[in-house]
């Protein structure tokens, strides 16, 4: 898959096929090798290797001081991250299931996001929170949510959602570099997906979307696993004579409105696909931003959103699938939009 990434800094790096989880682990290792201030902590990230196997053998390579298992208390973990960041460290916190971040809201939203502003820029909070999210694992309502929009609403936070192993590594390294709190929403279903990953410590810039597929007939904006579903849908749409452009947001905050607007000016139709609950979700933000922008005049159909159903994610696997957009849903929505049956 093509990526809009910064050119490699060094001589051409070797490109291997890695899984999304392996790419994240490589990013963590390279960051810890390059900077002694970087450390990883969270529930079961040490000897267990992480609930989803992301940290793997890192505890053996970097020791228990830099790969720390924590008690089951997201609030204290997040508070520790804020304190460490304020005192000069570069903490990377793993929240075992992103749903548990609700327990850490105070530290992330009320402290981490605001300290830089409330201290007049004299302090900053360079912390990273990694959050495995999303549905599809049969983990039910308290372990399957997509809460990224909550944080994208907060000034002072940055929010990214990698969809590929390449971006999982590059965005995480960029997040660790960043002097502000960055939340990296990883997707549980993506950990085993594979892709080409350069061996060097490249960065994928925050706030920059990637056009994954060029098309003429409509723009599908997606993020995380929805990007993969949108690309698969685009192939089926191509067979039906509909040429879809697929944009992978990669960052929700800051969001790359320019890339979306530029695409809409060319395709004249916009479909936004996201796993989070549709109501009050990122689709509303993108839709409104386009309607407010110069791109409005180029719309040839109402903007369409496909988002999660207004229900807690069900445990029943059939209902769980039905609760979030799937590939056939994207195909159908795109066809309605282009064939003008959208009413």
């Amino acid at each position: 898959m093509p990526n809009d990434v910064a050119p490699p800094r060094a001589a051409p790096a070797a490109v291997r096929e890695l899984s999304y989880a392996e790419a994240i682990r490589e990013a963590l290792a390279q960051a810890m090798e390059a900077d002694p201030r970087v450390f990883l902590f969270g529930e079961d990230v040490g000897v267990y290797g992480g609930a989803f196997g992301v940290s793997g053998d890192l505890v053996h390579r970097f020791g228990k001081e830099r790969v720390l298992d924590t008690p089951i208390s997201e609030l204290s973990m997040a508070g520790a991250a804020v304190g460490a960041a304020l005192t000069g460290m570069r903490p990377v916190l793993e929240i075992q299931f992103s749903d548990f971040v609700t327990l850490a809201m105070e530290q992330i939203v009320n402290q981490a996001a605001k300290i830089h502003f409330m201290f007049g820029g004299k302090a900053s909070v360079p912390m990273v929170v990694r959050l495995p999210g999303g549905s599809g694992t049969g983990a039910a309502a308290q372990h399957s949510q997509s809460l990224e929009a909550w944080f994208a609403h907060v000034p002072g936070l940055k929010v990214v959602q990698p969809s590929t192993p390449h971006d999982a590594k590059g965005l995480l390294l960029a997040a660790i570099d960043d002097p502000n709190p960055v939340l990296v929403f990883e997707h549980k279903l993506l950990y085993k997906t594979k892709g080409d990953v350069p061996s060097d410590a490249y960065r994928v810039p925050l706030g920059k979307a990637a056009v994954r597929r060029r098309g003429r007939d409509l723009t599908i904006v997606a993020a995380s696993i929805m990007t993969l579903r949108a690309l698969a849908a685009a192939e089926r749409l191509a067979a039906a004579g509909i040429d879809a452009e697929v944009i992978d947001l990669r960052s929700l905050r800051p969001i790359d409105h320019a890339t979306i607007a530029d695409s809409v000016r060319r395709t004249h139709r916009l479909l936004i696909v996201y796993e989070g609950v549709k109501t009050m979700g990122i689709g509303a933000e993108i839709s409104a931003a386009i309607a407010e922008s110069d791109a409005f005049d180029f719309l040839d159909a109402p903007i369409a959103r496909l988002g999660g159903a207004d229900v807690p994610i069900p445990y029943n696997p059939v209902l769980e699938r039905a609760a979030v957009p799937q590939e056939p849903d994207i195909v159908a929505a795109a066809e309605r939009l282009v064939r003008r049956g959208e009413a």
Partner: protein
Amino acid sequence: MPVEVVLPKVDMDMESGVIAQWKVAEGAQVHKGDILFDMETNKSIMEVEAPASGTIHALAPVNGAPIQVGTRVAWIDTSDDAGAAARAAAPAPVAHSRRAKPVAPPRTAVAVVSQMHAGVRATPLARREARARGIDLAVVRGSGPRGRIVAQDVAAHTAAATDELVPLSPTQRVVAQRMAQSADAAPHFHLTAHVDMTALRQARDHVAPRILREIGVKPTLNVLLAHIVARVLTRHPRLNASVEGDGVRLHNSVHLGIAIDRDGDLLVPVLRDAQRRTPAELMHDFVRLRDAVRSRTIAPADMRGGTFTISNLGMYGVDTFTAIINPPQSAILAVGRTVDTPVGRDGAIVLRPMASLSLSSDHRIVDGVTAARFMADLRRALENPASMEDYA
């Protein structure tokens, strides 16, 4: 309370009108009796008054499209202070014309307007492209849900409309209908005569100073010709007649229609009782009618009831032509230009100002000899105007 402003019916045969111009702006305060808009009907333009006081909204677009009588063309919101008086009185549902008593609109007409005021359903891109191409979206067919116009519809419309389609004006539609009807129903035949205009010119020069004193304008040859035609017609009743069922209506008076062009619209105002008018009176009448046509204030009544028509294209350099009868009349006289032409007079060739007159007659009620006698009589009169009292 909102009061509808509907397109009034001001003429018995009026089915639709065109809004020529709004005299008020959207959202303006209007008072009962204020002039709201100019309405163009088949024959004329008239002013339409506000039926109530208040704030006017939802003005129908001025786009030249005919609007059915009874159609709502605006709302007047009387709920503010300006409308208090109107609210006290029973709200008048129909706008008043200054010229005619309004007639209650047919109920079905209102629905047509509601659709119009629902606005055009079009995407932003379609609107943008229509703006860029100067296309009125109201005439574009929408292919989207609920008739929504999408960009492709604008493109299709543009492709279909590279040769401009110009709607006929109300007047043009009436002319088209009547001319087709005449050409279809009345078997036309044509007689042409070349008439020496020397004497008529002299007669005009003779009477011009007196007429100028009387009415302030000099008489034109065309009006003097009309004057003489009217006198001659009194002796040829079949040519001042109309087809009526299985009979012929012979008219006592000569109501002479004079064809006048107004920006591509053909209008035929009528010189009433022309057979008993003096040249000065006829000239006076003609000037009034011509000015009314040009200023678009001609009343429908001034264009009704003609019994014979004269059409003159001489000023355009046309030598001779034949005209289509203005139904239900029995004949029309087509006048070409007057040209100095060599003619034989007393064994010598001399130059004389000769005009070509062509008479088209309806063969159902006029036969060849009847028409020929009229033409011979007309030639004699035109070539000897001094024999008539008015030119002595």
